[in-house]
């Protein structure tokens, strides 16, 4: 869910293009990178909560596709010590229908994660050290899908360059949380609304492993940009995973309670 939120975070955006990130040529590359990340995060503040239905297509090297259908609910944190809370519910394949994955991200301590197994009615706290594990056999790792807080990375601005039809900041970020499967990520962020264009992920041997493309952006509530297609391509294996979103819903009144472990039992 990270990218989702991350993305969202980064992407979100509003009308004012501002100062610090773009104009200050006197800043060090590190300070400038951080300023860009903060601005992108700032532009996502205030979304409250959001819900989306999506399909996840796992595409093998020979083009065979396996589809999952899921929904995401995300609650924005109002506590500076905490990141966002996110709930993933699976609808297909049918044998895992009703399975829930709940994450509470935190700034200064490890994240909390729970799994709900509907056939056993069992809520299970799972280890948060699974950051680099593949999420349900996809090319997304858990860390790619968790809430993307600014403090979880260190940053360095590299350069500005055109990206597609946009002009982008190119920022390197290095995970500072434990158990990441990446040595670094390079993020292309367009300069007007701070939407992510794409992200390159480098494995622990510092070889390019995956590229995530953000496509089909839509703006919600006149402020928040969301990509409706996320395309993750593993350049080492040739496998791909494509997330395709239906329209997002915002501020539907989700509460803290809906993101408590006990609420997982309400799924089914």
């Amino acid at each position: 869910m990270k990218h989702f939120v991350k993305i969202i975070g980064l992407l979100l955006a509003c009308t004012q293009v501002t100062g610090v990130a773009q104009n200050s040529t006197t800043l060090t590359p590190e300070a400038r990178g951080l300023a860009i990340a903060r601005e992108a995060s700032h532009r996502n503040e205030g979304y409250g909560d959001t819900t989306a239905d999506l399909t996840m297509d796992l595409i093998s090297v020979d083009g065979r596709t396996r589809q999952r259908v899921l929904s995401w609910q995300i609650l924005e944190s109002d506590n500076p010590e905490d990141g966002d809370k996110a709930l993933t519910i699976f609808h297909e394949p049918r044998d895992i229908a009703g399975t829930g994955f709940l994450s509470h991200t935190h700034i200064s301590r490890e994240d909390d994660q729970w799994l709900y197994l509907p056939s056993l009615k069992r809520v299970k706290r799972i280890a948060s050290a699974n950051k680099s594990s593949a999420f349900v056999g996809s090319e997304f790792a858990y860390e790619d899908l968790l809430s993307d807080e600014v403090e979880k990375f260190s940053y360095r601005w590299i350069r500005d360059e055109p990206c597609g039809n946009w002009q982008c900041f190119v920022v390197e970020r290095v995970p500072v949380y434990d158990n990441s499967g990446y040595s670094r990520e390079i993020v292309w962020i367009e300069q007007s609304d701070y939407r992510i264009y794409k992200t390159d992920f480098y494995d622990l041997k510092d070889k390019l492993e995956k590229t995530l493309y953000f496509e089909d952006y839509h703006q919600y509530l006149d402020r928040f940009w969301r990509a409706h297609v996320l395309r993750m391509e593993n350049v080492q294996t040739g496998k791909k995973t494509v997330l395709t979103f239906k329209p997002y819903l915002f501020q539907t009144g989700l509460t803290e309670q809906a993101f408590s472990p006990d609420a997982l039992k309400r799924i089914r």
Binding site: D95, I126, A127, A129, K131, G137, N179, Q257, P261, D262
Partner: protein
């Protein structure tokens, strides 16, 4: 048993009628059909048992859900039917769920037949007490019968409090006289004896509080009513043969379950104190699970599990083989598109070496099929051990399921 099934059928039918009267807006059909032959590796220990090693069986379990008021009301109906070629008791049906749930702010209300799980450990579920074990399904005691209940749950920042009123006791299911996994003596399935004068109509009560704080997940629970575990008492019946008759005692039980999660470590503890079956006694199950993620640069995770089981009950309580045992296991999760995973484990009694070893493996085939393999091996069984009657009953199951 029959009576109860009939009653469940009746309330299920009523719920279906109610459900169909509602406008079909948010209704969902799901479920599965499974074919699952069991293969016993050895000739049976007792002559009455079937001698064919291959024992076919099939399951169908549809699921119906209907939601209204934007999801704040829900009816769930999940019947379950198994046909077993060799065990007439394993051929059975049950309502796993048939209930109405209502969600209103911090309150959750459930009325009807439901299913509840409490606990954290893997090898034994001491604290879990609401639902009766459907023992004919699997000797691992993880399959449960639906339990009639009124459940009121309240969520707050201070934790979740859940109250259960449990009318209508469910008796544990046991293999038929002429079936495998029965043990040395036949078990009477129709003549259960109750400690309580109210018998299976005793109103059982349970209360549970749960809370997650930082790395801790904590549950406290209390139960008063018909214990789910029967004593099996050898009884001479009119025909002159000896049967084991299930005796259900009224018990009080306090339980605590705690999990501490840090990095790749899960620390788990369950403990109970129980009175009403011989001297008051305590029991606990505790251990660790540690997971290595992404073995050798692959997507494969390997989790190692170890738990210690202790139970201080005396001979006046229902017998358990898990009085002083060690569980070790390994879980292989491939994290592939087919969700392949394998669990290998063994529960060993250090005193006499009695071992129940098992393998559980599963993967998806295509979008709607799953394939599961289960192996249960009873080895090192000693003549005076509690598992002696089962020493020839090691088996494997190959289950093919189709989900709709």
């Amino acid at each position: 048993m029959l009576y109860r099934s009939a009653r469940c059928a009746y309330c299920g039918a009523v719920l279906i009628v109610i459900a169909n009267q509602c406008l079909a807006q948010q209704q969902d059909w799901a479920g599965y059909i499974a074919f699952e032959p069991r293969i016993f590796f050895e000739e049976p220990k007792y002559d009455q048992h079937p001698h064919n090693g291959l024992s076919p069986s099939a399951v169908v379990s549809p699921e119906f859900r209907y939601e209204w008021h934007e999801g704040s009301d829900r009816i769930t109906i999940i019947p379950f039917y198994r046909y077993d070629a060799d065990d007439e008791n394993r051929t059975h049906w049950d309502l796993r769920e048939a209930n109405w749930q209502h969600f209103r702010g911090p309150w959750t209300w459930l009325l009807g037949v439901g299913k509840v799980f409490w606990g954290v450990t893997e090898s034994r579920h001491l604290v879990d007490i609401i639902n009766q074990t459907d023992l004919v399904e699997d000797i691992d005691e993880e399959q449960k019968l639906g339990q009639p209940m009124i459940n009121l749950e309240h969520w707050s920042e201070g934790g979740t409090l859940s109250l259960f009123l449990l009318p209508g006791f469910r008796e544990r299911t046991f293999p038929a006289n002429n079936a495998r996994l029965r043990g040395p003596l036949p078990i009477s399935n129709h003549d259960a004896v109750y400690d309580s004068g109210a018998g299976d109509q005793h109103l059982d009560i349970a209360l549970r509080w749960t809370k997650s704080v930082t790395n801790w997940d904590i549950g406290l629970s209390g139960f008063y009513g018909n214990g789910r575990e029967p004593r099996l008492v050898p009884t001479l019946v009119a025909s002159g043969s000896v049967f084991l008759v299930p005796h259900y005692d009224v018990i009080s039980q306090l339980g605590v379950d705690i999990q501490y999660t840090q990095e790749a470590w899960l620390w788990k503890l369950e403990a109970i104190g129980r009175s009403g079956q011989g001297d008051d006694f305590g029991a606990f199950a505790g251990g660790v699970e540690y997971t290595f993620y992404g073995i050798r640069g692959t997507n494969v995770d390997i989790g190692l599990l170890a738990e210690y089981l202790y139970d201080a009950r005396d001979d006046a309580a229902p017998a358990t083989s898990l009085d002083d045992d060690v569980f070790v296991g390994a879980r292989f999760t491939l994290n592939d598109a087919d969700d392949t995973n394998i669990l290998v484990g063994a529960i060993v009694d250090p005193a006499d070496g009695e071992t129940i070893a098992f393998v559980e493996a599963q993967r998806r085939m295509g979008e709607r099929w799953t394939l599961e393999f289960e192996l249960r091996l009873l080895t090192n069984i000693s003549e005076d051990g509690r598992l002696y009657g089962f020493e020839k009953d090691s088996y494997m199951t190959l289950r093919t399921s189709w989900y709709f």
